[in-house]
Assembly symmetry: C2
Homo-oligomer: 389 residues x 2
């Protein structure tokens, strides 16, 4: 049953190895004060920073900077950025980086003109902004989160061991434009590349493993999953394969730009478990998802067998002849496991710095959603985390 | 190879059996003068007209009307509408109908403030508008053309036997909003339903059968084709199945809202042949496409065998074991042929009123595109039309 919904995603995308040249035109749509936001400095090493700054200068922009946005951007870093953005009277926030930088910029967008505590308002109360928001543009340097074409923003409060995402309702909080150059992703370490690939794949899974219907949405999801599997195998062998990396980048955008949830319910428990592990260990997002996925999916398999069977057949080409539904479904998860190992993903939380004594903290930080094939109990969360260790 | 491109599709979609209730909110975004445009009057029989007019009146709008937009809207009807729209000082053009009405409204959008001949400018010279364009909103009553979320517009010049489509470059010419209520499609005659379904399927084919790469775009196309095949079989058995009809409606939108052509080349020769047949016979669009498709695809099969083999395996589940590529590819087309016959589509142009003596006219009206696996000669066009008769 394709339920009722609305869809609007106005983000303008420029895709390809020449896409940065369109930044100049986009800058004409905004005022003079640009806040340039980036991460740990890799864009200074690979030259992207210099290219972007040259374009900003040529356009006559006044540029202020927020540097050092961390992989799990903190509320403290957000507060620091709000002060800089205010002092600069920012007209456009320009994110140059991966999903973390882009998420951070959306958090800035809704916080600069808000006088209260953004953590409480947006990440605890999940309220929508009632202040004026600032436009965000994005130059993406890593494929994975889909943050370049959605209104989601994940922020971490390290002292509280909380990492919480808010998907804002207003499409104005989506980046107004995003520049997607697959070449920028070629210099990423293999570890970051495969973590991003699994993040993409899991975004699709989170929206796919819910409902048992025949919606068009799920057929699109299957196409995207097949594409990610295919291109990831090529990129794993040869990370410099531009075609594979470009397909991965494009899949990432469509995996989480709201299309795959239209007309259906979603799950998102792998992200809840993984984000909790990330808040406690500060491990790479995609790797935390990888480590908890199979224990979680095997746990919910009996409650959603029909969909896992369909996943096995339509995504992994499992031949169902002469097998029970459960056997077909389990073969699909085995195929997924082989692929994950082939990519070199983290298959255990212990590989990511987690120890048994941290599990209660991770379990406590896990938001249990009322979604998917089985709403977990606290005990089940702990059991899945133990199996993931 | 996923080539360079930009993507922007800001159309706001309201989908579902309650979607008309959002019209009220959308009307707030436009001035008081609304031009209501519709077709042959079926919306008066099924009550949609009364519902829409009541909402317009309650919102205090001044409404003028263009009624009687025909299935292949003519340039003469366009000129008539331009005069009405001008006299009404139109702020919003509201299409209530299928793709023809929506196409017509986009033609109005670019013509009302243009002083010259829109046929020459937009449909012969394929120029972009340099005048101010009017916003279009759409209430869709038939699934098929995808016109509800793109900037395409097909207009016919009957005396010249020409039916020509222009996909405008500016996303402002896309409908600003579209209301998609699958219930509105339930009252369509079976013939119109299956013609729409084939139109959808062929839109996907036109963008799929070009290039031989591994692009994400083609994987999404395969997912959409599988969904259309699945839901069409259910709707063919039971046209009142809301779930199937809703999936068909949603597939139609994504089949032709620009996503499936991103990063790749396209074909579109089936549409060129079918539109020429439509201009000469005035037959239903989707049926003309059905009648010419298999002769065309079998003709180009030797030039694109690898893609037709992939189509057979990924869309029609053809088992390739022990078969040549050509055999696998041909089995895919046979599966497609069986499905088309199952739906009751026109398999010959003669079923649509075409006679052998009309074929030279149809051939002359066929625009030969420099695209796809084989650029046709004039002789090949004639040969395919003979095989389609």
């Amino acid at each position: 049953m394709l339920g009722n919904f609305s869809y609007c995603n106005p983000t303008k995308l420029y895709f390809g190895d020449d896409s940065l040249k369109f930044l100049k035109d986009e800058l004409n749509n905004y005022g003079d004060n640009v806040l340039l936001v980036y991460g740990g400095g890799s864009i200074k090493k690979n030259g992207i920073y210099d290219e972007v700054v040259a374009i900003l200068k040529a356009a006559g922009k006044n540029v202020a900077e927020v540097a050092g946005v961390m992989p799990n951007p903190t509320i403290h870093k957000l507060n620091e950025g709000v002060a800089i953005a205010k002092a600069h009277q920012t007209d456009l926030i320009l994110a140059v980086g991966g999903g973390s930088v882009c998420d951070y910029c959306k958090a800035l967008s809704v916080s600069v003109n808000y006088d209260g505590d953004p953590w409480q308002k947006y990440y605890i109360n999940f309220e929508e902004p009632d202040c004026e928001t600032l436009p965000v543009g994005c130059i993406l340097t890593m494929a994975g989160t889909g943050s370049e074409m959605n209104a989601g923003s994940v922020i971490t409060f390290p002292e509280k061991k909380l990492k919480i995402g808010h998907v804002f309702a207003d499409e104005k909080i989506m980046p107004r434009f995003s520049i997607l150059n697959p070449k920028y992703t070629l210099t990423l370490p293999h570890y970051q590349m495969v973590a991003g690939i699994y993040d993409i794949f899991n975004h699709i899974c989170e929206q796919y493993f819910s409902d048992e219907d025949d919606s068009t949405t799920d057929y699109i999801a299957e196409g995207l999953m097949r594409s990610v599997i295919h291109s990831s195998r090529i990129a794993n062998e040869n990370p410099q394969d531009y075609e594979a990396r470009s397909n991965i980048m494009w899949s990432a955008t469509w995996a989480l730009n709201t299309l795959l949830k239209k007309g259906k319910t979603t799950d998102w428990m792998v992200h809840m478990l993984g984000q909790a592990a990330g808040a406690v260990t500060d491990a790479t997002h995609g790797m935390t998802l990888a480590a908890v996925s199979l224990p979680y999916y095997r746990h919910i398999l009996p409650y959603g067998t029909a969909k896992f069977k369909r996943f096995a057949e339509n995504v992994w080409n499992v031949n169902p002849d002469g097998k029970t539904d459960m056997q077909v479904a389990e073969e699909g998860l085995q195929a997924m496991e082989s692929w994950m190992k082939e990519l070199g993903l983290a298959m255990h939380l212990s590989e990511l710095g987690a120890r048994e004594d941290m599990l209660p903290d991770i379990a406590n930080a896990t938001l249990i959603l009322n979604s998917g094939y089985k709403v977990l109990t606290k005990d089940e969360v702990m059991q899945i985390l133990k199996e993931s260790l």
